[in-house]
């Protein structure tokens, strides 16, 4: 039965039992990529979508034209947010394992993307995240208790029990509701940005998807509308090398960088070391300035690695080497920023350990508070009547009737 086939099938570079192999990854030395003017024409900056913008070199120094020259205090804030994200992730993962939370998704290894970008954008800018951008919420200051209550679907759940864990939103913090459907937020962010432009407002929009999600139609929809109307938006692809079990080659990354789609649509495309806090910050600042000054949208590909499982429903040892993450050539974003700060004399192992401990306590305290408002299994629960609200702005007759039916069904 086996037939001769000319179909090309992308192959992951290493599979369970094999040694990790990242020889496919094309990088540039830190500092090597020029930083064009924010008004540069797309056709003149195609290289940005192929090379890799990096600031931190192997000796933990910040080098080259993309060096954002942030204050050490800002870098410490960034480190704190990244660490808090990581500590929060670890604790919530454990809560899931303990059966307190039905589902969880970590962002291990990708913390720089959310944290640096949230810091580089303005508070008024509107964010349309994917499910792996908890760092955006944390950096913008969403109380952890609020986020935990969402995970617990409890009485203080911002989603009123309707969404799967991690599908947060934060209206006051200008962060949009996360969807379980991949990529749908991409054209929505563009529409939001178009509206800002129509209204003559200065805020821009930013949105994130995984590289796997760039296969969905909404990626194209967003690219096209952003390009045609030159919408003030930053479109981010977080290329963490893996979707669930399929590696980035199955989303097209084998033939060309994801950032290269930008120039294809007449849009600036930038490929950045996603584990380099400074590089992500600088590229975001550049893209935001482009957007805000009317120079057009930017597609940013963040080259990073998904250090953890896809979600708590997934076992990565079935599809990739166990030590893959340790061998990732771009290192760990927290370690890299920490070492940079230490090399600047603005941080130490001791301060780091103390910070970790402080954050762990903060997370634990928050968790203790959150569970008081109920968990999926125990404690106070939201009223089941809420199930029928917000389908429409005003509840129509058929839903009022169903609400009565449910009350009768459940006795009272």
């Amino acid at each position: 039965m086996p037939r001769r086939s000319r179909l090309h099938i992308p192959h992951a570079h290493s599979r369970p039992g094999e040694a990790p192999d990242f020889s496919y990854l094309e990088t540039s030395p830190a500092g090597a990529v020029a930083r064009p003017d924010v008004n540069a024409r797309v056709r003149d900056i195609g290289n940005l979508s192929i090379e890799l913008v990096r600031v931190l070199d192997d000796d933990h120094r910040a080098v080259g034209p993309w060096h954002p020259h942030l204050d050490p205090s800002d870098l410490q804030v960034g480190l704190r947010h990244m660490l808090l994200t990581r500590v929060y992730d670890d604790r919530m993962q454990r809560s899931q394992r303990q059966g307190k939370v039905s589902f969880y998704m970590r962002s291990l290894g990708e913390e720089a993307v959310s944290v640096a970008q949230a810091m580089a954008l303005r508070p008024g800018d509107m964010l349309f995240p994917s499910y792996r951008n908890q760092g955006l919420f944390i950096t913008r200051g969403k109380p952890l208790v609020d986020m935990m209550c969402q995970l617990l679907s409890n009485t203080r759940d911002m989603c009123k029990g309707r969404q799967l864990p991690v599908m947060y939103h934060w209206t006051a913090g200008r962060i949009f509701s996360i969807s379980g459907n991949l990529t749908t937020q991409f054209p929505q962010a563009v529409g939001w940005a178009m509206a800002a432009a129509i209204k003559g407002e200065d805020d821009i929009a930013a949105t994130w998807i995984g590289e796997g999600s760039s296969a969905e139609a909404d990626f194209h929809h967003a690219m096209l509308f952003a390009s045609v109307y030159q919408a003030p938006v930053i479109l981010n692809i977080v290329n963490n090398q893996w979707a669930i079990s399929t590696f980035q080659g199955f989303a097209g990354g084998e033939q060309r960088s994801f950032a290269a789609r930008g120039p294809g649509y007449g849009m600036a495309g930038v490929r950045v070391d996603g584990n380099d806090f400074l590089a992500v910050y600088a590229v975001t600042q550049w893209a935001a300035e482009r957007a805000r000054t009317g120079a057009g949208p930017t597609l940013i590909e963040h080259v990073t690695y998904r250090g953890a499982a896809h979600s708590t429903s997934d076992d990565p040892s079935r599809y990739r080497p166990k030590d893959d993450y340790e061998k990732w050539p771009l290192g760990d974003p927290v370690e890299r920023l920490k070492n940079h700060l230490i090399s600047l004399g603005e941080w130490s192992e001791e301060r780091h350990a103390a910070l970790v401990q402080e954050l762990e306590e903060h997370v634990l305290e928050s968790w203790k508070e959150a569970v008081q408002y109920g968990t999926l299994t125990d404690g106070p629960r939201l009223s089941r009547d809420l199930m029928f609200e917000d389908v429409f702005k005003e509840m129509p007759a058929h839903l009022r009737k169903q609400r009565e039916q449910l009350r009768a069904e459940q006795g009272g």
Binding site: C159, G191, D218, H221, F225, V391, K393, H398
Partner: protein
């Protein structure tokens, strides 16, 4: 009172809303400079500028995706899908996003998008310019579904839809854009000026979403229908000399069950008619609901008349269309009692 056809009435609705509310924007393929392939948006871009009336790329999914984002940012987009047959590329944004955004964010985010789209056959459009997919949308909770049958309602319902904070899919039966149609293609076309509902106020008014209308009072049988079929059913009932009560559903979601059931309880007989394909069409929900509510009043089975369960074929448009003969046959069956 001014006379308007449905195109003019719809145009007037958008004109008024663009004028009253700076957040209203109109968008879609060919709607701007050109004024729409059916000319429903004619003149609007000239009057309100190209930042309020936007031509778009040919990508229905992107139009709705962008409209959602615009809605979240405070605008009130009125998006045209050029033909209802071409709404499917937007299904995911409509079903998964537009319909559920308010719910999933516990009321914090929503997008007051109105999607206008011409539907129905009878214009030699073949299988890709004739569909009536409204039934599909009625199964998706979180969107309102509207279809007017005349210029007066079209304008009032479109204004109400644009003002509504919930998303609305607004179907426009294109066969009756220019005049009511009784299902006889060979008779001379009749303009809306001959019809009382062709009288349309110039200014602002609304027709409420969620209210059916009894367009003819009658005692013998209730005919429940909407869109083009309102006119076909009127003609068919007249031809049989039946004293039919004819109800124009107008809004499918939320459905005005009271008005329908009051009528059926009175007449004891019910025929449901729509142009869409029969199987699992909206007539099924109408029939099921009425049966549940009015069972003890029914003197005969509820009947359904609809398009056949096939695509809408170019050459057999009039064999496909549920014209007066099919409605009459349905009525006769409903009037029988063994």
């Amino acid at each position: 009172m001014p006379q308007m056809n449905m195109i003019q009435a719809l145009n007037s609705a958008m004109d008024i809303m663009l004028g009253r509310d700076p957040n209203v924007v109109v968008m879609g393929e060919d709607v701007g400079f050109f004024g729409g392939v059916f000319r429903v948006t004619d003149g609007l871009q000239r009057k309100y500028g190209e930042h309020r009336v936007l031509d778009t790329p040919i990508a229905e999914g992107a139009i709705i995706g962008a409209a959602i984002g615009m809605g979240v940012n405070g605008l009130r987009p009125v998006a045209e899908v050029q033909f209802a047959d071409y709404i499917y590329p937007a299904c995911d944004q409509i079903f998964s996003e537009l319909a559920r955004l308010r719910y999933r964010s516990a009321g914090e985010f929503w997008a007051p998008v109105t999607i206008r789209t011409p539907c129905g056959g009878g214009i030699r459009g073949g299988q890709t310019h004739s569909q009536s997919p409204e039934g599909i949308f009625t199964h998706v909770c979180g969107i309102k579904v509207v279809m007017p049958s005349n210029p007066y309602d079209a304008k009032g319902l479109l204004i109400a839809s644009i003002e509504d904070d919930d998303p609305v899919v607004f179907f426009e039966p294109k066969r009756i854009y220019n005049g009511p149609f009784d299902g006889e293609p060979n008779k001379p076309a009749v303009p809306w000026s001959t019809h009382p509902k062709g009288e349309v106020p110039e200014g602002y008014y609304t027709v409420p979403i969620g209210k059916a209308e009894v367009v003819r009072k009658g005692k013998q049988v209730s005919i429940i229908t909407y869109g083009t079929m309102v006119h076909v059913c009127e003609a068919a009932a007249r031809s049989l000399g039946l004293d039919a009560e004819i109800i124009d559903v107008r809004t499918m979601v939320p459905l005005d069950v009271d008005t329908l059931c009051t009528s059926v309880k009175k007449t004891g007989r019910c025929l449901i008619a729509h142009e869409a394909t029969r199987f699992s069409g909206f007539g099924a929900e109408l029939s099921a609901t009425i049966q549940e509510e009015c069972f003890w009043n029914l003197e005969a089975p509820i009947g359904r008349v609809a398009g056949w369960d096939t695509p809408y074929p170019h050459a057999f448009e009039w064999e496909y269309f549920p014209g007066p003969q099919r409605v009459a046959a349905g009525l006769k069956a409903v009037m029988e009692t063994p």
